[in-house]
């Protein structure tokens, strides 16, 4: 690091100051979007629950042998959400399930956006045959029905959380790649890129120092939106029995409920909590993503 030297430290300190200022400006504008703040609060609540789950419910909640209730017990004072088909505490399971759903959603979205960003930036930076080939592949992924492809991948690979993350990440990146590539092309046509190149900036320097900071806001908004669909996709895969059978997730709980005949027996209380949890988290991420988007793109902000 060059922090010791004066000439290098000054511009760096300046850059950080500017970044802080723009982050503060971003937050000031974000705060004006009431739905976005609501989404953020909901998310904070769920993240807290997920983090505190070992303290709140303990890891024994998923244990079948030592269940507190009888199978399919109705909600009561002791078990506010009732018991699942093994007699486990459903409230505890839903809280515990937040860990898997949030983690898978987050990792899948990060994987998806990371692939999309790398492909998008490189395809925008290196023109010629590389870009042509890569964009062909992107287009091909784009026409594939995402859910069908994810199901196929999850079927082909072994049952684990990693499989679910990969299946979602690998199938959802093309939208990001297209958006990032368009942004990269726009950034690279500006004169200061030419200046950087004239001063001897290499490919890596231009992509990482000039293009990437410019596409980051877009990437941020895109990540938030993709987490929402990744969480839905995770629940879907788990519901189809393609998730990791050894962990508790919201989709898995719904699959359990269906297999236990909760639908035909009218055990609505078994079905409602996991579904509401999925919907709340997905909605919260969507609201945040929309708020981020309209802060970054004021023209949209006016119209929405």
């Amino acid at each position: 690091m060059t922090t010791g030297k004066w000439p290098a430290a000054r511009p760096r300190a300046m850059a950080w100051q500017r970044r802080r200022a723009s982050a503060a400006r971003f937050w000031r504008r974000y705060r004006t979007h009431r739905a976005g703040v609501l989404g953020l609060a909901t998310l904070a609540l769920f993240v807290l629950l997920a983090l505190a789950a070992p303290l709140l419910v303990g890891s024994g909640v998923a244990d079948v042998t030592d269940a507190p209730g009888s199978p399919l017990e109705r909600p009561s004072g002791e078990l506010p959400f009732g018991a699942d088909r093994f007699g486990r505490n459903l409230l505890g399971l839903v809280i515990w399930g937040a860990r898997v759903s949030l983690l898978v959603g987050l990792f899948a979205a990060v994987l998806s956006v990371a692939i999309g960003t790398v492909i998008g930036v490189t395809a925008g930076h290196f023109r010629g045959w590389y870009a042509t080939v890569v964009m062909r592949i992107t287009d091909w992924f784009l026409v594939m029905p995402t859910l069908v492809l994810a199901i196929a991948l999850a079927t082909v690979m072994s049952r684990s959380l990693l499989t679910v993350v990969v299946a979602i990440g690998v199938t959802t990146w093309p939208t990001t790649a297209r958006l990032v590539r368009a942004q990269t092309l726009a950034v690279e046509s500006r004169p200061y890129i030419e200046r950087a190149r004239a001063l001897g900036g290499g490919h890596w320097h231009i992509m990482s120092r000039h293009v990437l900071p410019h596409v980051m806001p877009l990437v941020l908004a895109q990540t938030t939106l993709i987490i929402s669909s990744a969480i839905l996709a995770e629940a879907t895969l788990a519901f189809l029995g393609l998730g990791d059978p050894t962990v508790v997730s919201w989709g898995g709980l719904l699959q359990d409920a269906r297999e236990a005949g909760a639908v035909s027996a009218g055990h609505w209380w078994y079905l409602v909590p996991p579904g509401i949890a999925i919907a709340l988290v997905a909605l919260a991420f969507t609201l945040c993503g929309r708020a981020v988007e309209s802060v970054l793109n004021p023209r949209l902000g006016v119209s929405r």
Partner: protein, 357 residues
């Protein structure tokens, strides 16, 4: 612009294409008479290449599935090595992979997608059997959610910021966040099984009760159709609503609307004759993309409601795994999206003379 509206309004995983071809022949400035046919040829050729790529993928992807399909076919019965070999030979599983692939491609081009292990029937027959049911379900849902989305989106935009707009936008976002299978299960519990005093109003699944004929049969199928369609409409209309709304909002500042009003036109005439036709342009692309997506996205709803369509068949085939059937269905789902995207590309320039001519 269009792709912005599509992907920005709802986000993640929705922007199935990059919008209409703005970088198409219009950029090169071809003459009106020759440009469109050439453009059509290009798009159709591109679609053909995509279809071929899907064919290749569907073959190799599902060869990776662990487990011996022959073991399933024998259903765990004790069979001799000769019988296993006979099965392998019957389904061509004893040949080297490249030869299987060559056979597969050759047959696919003549419309033969192999024989299902599970049903011991041609895959094409199983698919054509299930296709009308899926089309009935998705078609009904598609018409309803498109109409609902456009109607509500138009009203929301025209009175944006008011209570109705906020309510409809909020509701659309909430419904869009619901897992479709969960909504389906919930509808079954409340409206088919019935909670407490509520009687079961609708059948829990399937497409017919059996034994009905003529008009009674139609009523029976319609009765079975209600809940799956409601589920699909509820989770799908939000996107159309949001895109229509933001497209119309973009048009609302237009000078031509001021002119129309200055002419003394009534408010709803300004909306219906002037604003909406322009605003519908981005929606047209979305509508076609949705049509393709709905066919593939119906897997969950069909599974939950035991609807005898392609989605339910796909779920059944996956659990085996019934390779030829899975491959065939994968191809059909992908082909639906490709064909619809291509149609959207082809039709768009006809709607919007600024594009693609």
């Amino acid at each position: 612009m269009t792709s912005d509206a599509t992907s920005a309004s709802v986000g993640g995983g929705t922007g199935a294409t990059d919008g209409p071809p703005k970088d198409g022949p219009s950029a090169t400035g071809g003459r009106v008479t020759t440009a469109y046919p050439r453009y059509v040829a290009g798009r159709v050729a591109g679609a053909a290449v995509s279809l071929l790529a899907v064919l290749v993928t569907s073959f190799f992807l599902f060869r990776l599935i662990p487990g011996d399909p022959v073991k399933f076919m024998t259903g765990g019965r004790q069979v001799s090595a000769e019988q296993l070999a006979a099965y392998r030979e019957q389904f061509g599983l004893d040949l080297p992979l490249w030869q299987q692939f060559a056979d597969y491609c050759g047959k696919a081009l003549t419309g033969d997608l192999g024989t299902s292990y599970q049903f011991n029937a041609p895959v094409v027959d199983k698919i054509t059997e299930a296709l009308p049911n899926t089309l009935l379900l998705t078609g009904t849902a598609f018409v309803l959610y498109t109409a609902l989305g456009i109607a509500l989106g138009t009203r929301s935009a025209w009175r944006h910021g008011r209570l109705g707009d906020r309510f409809h936008t909020g509701l659309a976002l909430v419904l869009y966040s619901l897992p479709s299978f969960w909504l389906g299960l919930l509808l079954i519990v409340t409206l088919s099984v019935g909670i407490g005093p509520l009687p079961g109003l609708f059948p829990t699944g399937g497409m017919e009760s059996g034994g009905e004929e003529g008009f009674a049969y139609v009523v029976d199928v319609a009765h079975h159709l209600v809940l799956p369609v409601v589920t699909l409409v509820a989770v799908e209309y939000g996107q159309t609503l949001l895109v229509t709304r933001s497209a119309l909002l973009d048009e609302m500042g237009g000078d031509y609307l001021t002119t129309a009003r200055a002419k003394g036109l009534r408010d709803d005439l300004v909306r219906r004759r002037h604003a909406v036709p322009n605003a519908l342009l981005p929606t047209v692309t979305l509508i076609f993309i949705n049509l393709g997506r709905t066919v593939a996205g119906v897997i969950l709803v069909e599974t939950v409601f035991s609807w005898p369509g392609l989605g339910g068949l796909f779920y059944q085939a996956l659990s085996v795994p019934d390779l030829p059937l899975v491959q065939g269905l994968f191809f059909v789902f992908a082909a639906a999206v490709i064909v619809m995207n291509t149609l959207a590309d082809l039709i768009y320039p006809l709607f919007d003379p600024r594009v693609g001519r």
